[in-house]
């Protein structure tokens, strides 16, 4: 059942965010241990940086726990790591260019691709000067650039795939329905089919006014749950040939091929009644407003689409 993947996806997402918080917590503990070790050894010249980094990492972990979408924790973590690398690593230098590759990989892993690449290119001279070896300079710069470019490859491929996914997906991720672009294509082909086979075609524009309020008051999870339940109810009621697609945040189109005005009106009554009978934990029944648009033989598909959008706007106005 595709609509279940929406819920599992959000759960999966939360789980991964929790894991990231855990990793950040561990890193904080490691730096804190390092600071403690400096204190116990009595090396007070080098204690300020690790303490500062520990504080920054602690704040970042807390913020990440509160809101995992915010990029601020990643930036705080980066600042803390940059501080440690810039001020501690050159002093504790084992005679090799060990630390040189670390900042650019860390940036790539923590930030989205574009800002990460920008930051890496801007900071490259700084890291080469701070962490690189003094002799064999040209070769080291070359190798550093190679590492940067080779390491960015998987990120580049992944971001390309993500873009491609959003362009070619045909289904909604939040509910069991087709997405808007697929819906438009299907509308064109349904209209052509109705014309070719000389059949009637009706489309119900269904607006769910509660969704906006739900996301404001109870959070995204509740909104997705309401939307997926509503679409599931609609799929249950409609025949196998009917098409449900989501055209807007809170609006769905239900295409009813080979259905005249009378049949579509009956369908509308059944639909609103079934949705009203469905109860949700916090909001009670699902309210739905629906309007009927009937395909006329003189309509082009653009004209039909415009009428659908007009119906959609009228439904939203009615609500306000």
């Amino acid at each position: 059942m595709p609509f279940l993947t929406a819920l599992t996806h959000t759960r999966d997402h939360r789980q991964l965010a929790n894991r990231k918080t855990l990793i950040m917590l561990l890193a904080t503990l490691v730096i804190a241990t390092y600071a403690l070790w400096r204190y116990l050894v009595g090396d007070f010249d080098h204690i300020l940086t690790p303490v500062l980094s520990t504080l920054l990492m602690g704040i970042a972990t807390g913020l990440n726990l509160l809101d995992d979408e915010n990029p601020l924790p990643s930036y705080l973590t980066l600042i803390a790591s940059y501080l440690m690398l810039a001020l501690e690593a050159p002093g504790a230098y084992p005679g090799l260019s060990l630390w040189l590759g670390l900042p650019c990989i860390l940036t790539l892993l923590l930030l989205p691709l574009a800002p990460a690449m920008l930051l890496n290119l801007v900071l490259a001279p700084l890291w080469l000067w701070l962490l690189g070896q003094q002799d064999d300079n040209f070769g080291e710069e070359l190798r550093y650039l190679c590492l940067l470019l080779v390491a960015s490859q998987p990120f580049v491929i992944n971001s390309l795939q993500a873009d491609f996914m959003t362009l070619t997906a045909s289904e909604e991720t939040e509910c069991n329905a087709f997405n808007a672009s697929t819906g438009r294509e299907r509308l064109t082909s349904e209209a052509a089919r109705a014309r070719a086979l000389d059949q009637p075609l009706s489309i119900l524009v269904i607006y769910l006014p509660q969704l906006e309020m739900l996301s404001e008051q109870f959070g995204e999870d509740r909104r997705i749950e309401c939307l997926s339940t509503a679409s599931e109810v609609m799929q249950d009621i409609s025949r196998l040939g009917d098409l449900l697609c989501r055209s807007d945040k809170a609006t769905l189109w239900l295409m009813l091929p080979n259905t005249g005005e009378a049949g579509a009106l009956i369908m509308r009554e059944r639909l609103t009644a079934a949705l009203a009978a469905t109860t949700q934990p916090e909001t009670g029944s699902i309210i739905a407003r629906a309007r009927l648009v009937i395909y006329k033989a003189s309509d082009t598909s653009q004209k039909l689409e415009q009428r659908l959008l007009a119906a959609q706007l009228a439904l939203m106005d009615l609500n306000e």
Binding site: L16, I23, L109, R143, L149, R193
Partner: protein, 313 residues
């Protein structure tokens, strides 16, 4: 349009990386022929191949080969010449971003950890523990990125289209559409059939031309699909079977190129009896222009069989 531009950028980044690697290899070879220089040259050539033939990366064996050889080359470089190449040590977590097939990520992680162990052991236990700790943390971050990407792949498999700029749907979409379309056609009493099309001449350009002419030849309600095997399919809906054969001829004439077609009638058909990979197999070598396939076993029959099986059990 936008996506093409981005693909070009990624190819350029890859090309730049390979050129720089080859440059470093040439520089080291000019200083003296060593194993590390040769390894750099091999890595650079591999990246060059990847950047010039991006499509190869879609093949799973090629991808696995590239990822594994990158991991092995990095580890060899670090162990053979640590004074120059020790910074590659931090490159391993990045390989975890591409965990496909499933065993690839743990394999890369294992290679990375073993390499870190051997590379940092001469520096003393402090450095060793610090190095392993940092590598493991970065690897965990990389694995999270890999898991996020798995969701994207999952979605990509269920995508409706192969090409975002064209109204041609994927095989996944066909399998989702078919039960609906068949039920509808049966209810309304109209004829429905699937036409499989393949050009006689092989080659990608011919196939693309066929796709283009099909766009103009087929009407808006005759949905086009591209199957995983590469052959094209059109879902034809007409009022009666006699009209279907007329429309079919008209469609193929309109294509104005040498094609072979197989017709699968779908009325009352059981979708589970439909084997699309078998259906499109060796279509171009067919002797007749149009081959009519026998109708699918009907849904009632298969239900009978299923109920018989239940009785047998």
């Amino acid at each position: 349009m936008e996506i093409k531009f981005k693909v070009r950028i990624s190819q350029f980044v890859c090309l730049l990386g390979s050129v720089l690697l080859l440059l470093e290899a040439a520089r080291q070879i000019s200083l003296g022929l060593t194993v590390t220089a040769l390894l750099l040259a091999v890595g650079g050539t591999m990246l060059l191949v990847v950047s010039l033939a991006h499509e190869l990366f879609a093949l799973s064996w090629f991808r696995t080969l590239v990822m594994l050889s990158v991991a092995l080359i990095m580890s060899a470089l670090i162990l053979l010449a640590p004074e120059q190449h020790l910074m590659w040590l931090w490159g391993f977590p990045v390989l975890l971003l591409y965990p496909r097939p499933r065993w690839l990520a743990p394999a890369c992680a294992a290679i990375g950890l073993v390499t870190t162990w051997y590379a940092l052991r001469p520096l003393g236990s402090d450095w060793l523990s610090l190095g392993i700790g940092i590598t493991a943390t970065l690897m965990a971050l990389g694995a999270i990125g890999g898991r996020r990407q798995q969701h994207v792949w999952h979605q990509l498999e269920r995508r409706g289209r192969r090409d975002p700029n064209r109204a041609i749907w994927s095989q996944y979409q066909l399998m989702r559409d078919l039960p609906r379309e068949i039920a509808r056609a049966d209810r309304e009493g109209i004829h429905i059939e699937l036409i499989l099309l393949a050009p006689v001449m092989p080659g990608r350009l011919v196939r693309r031309r066929l796709m283009n002419t099909l766009d103009s030849a087929a009407m808006a309600h005759e949905t086009r699909y591209i199957l995983n095997g590469g052959c094209l399919a059109v879902l034809l809906v007409t009022r009666a079977e006699r009209m279907a054969s007329l429309r079919r001829r008209q469609l193929i004439e309109h294509l104005a190129m040498q094609v072979r077609a197989r017709i699968q009638p779908l009325n009352n058909g059981d979708i589970h009896a439909l084997d699309l990979t078998n259906l499109g197999l060796n279509l171009a070598q067919e002797s007749e222009l149009i081959t009519l396939l026998s109708p699918l076993s009907s849904r009632a029959d298969s239900q009978d069989i299923a109920s018989h099986r239940e009785v047998d059990d």
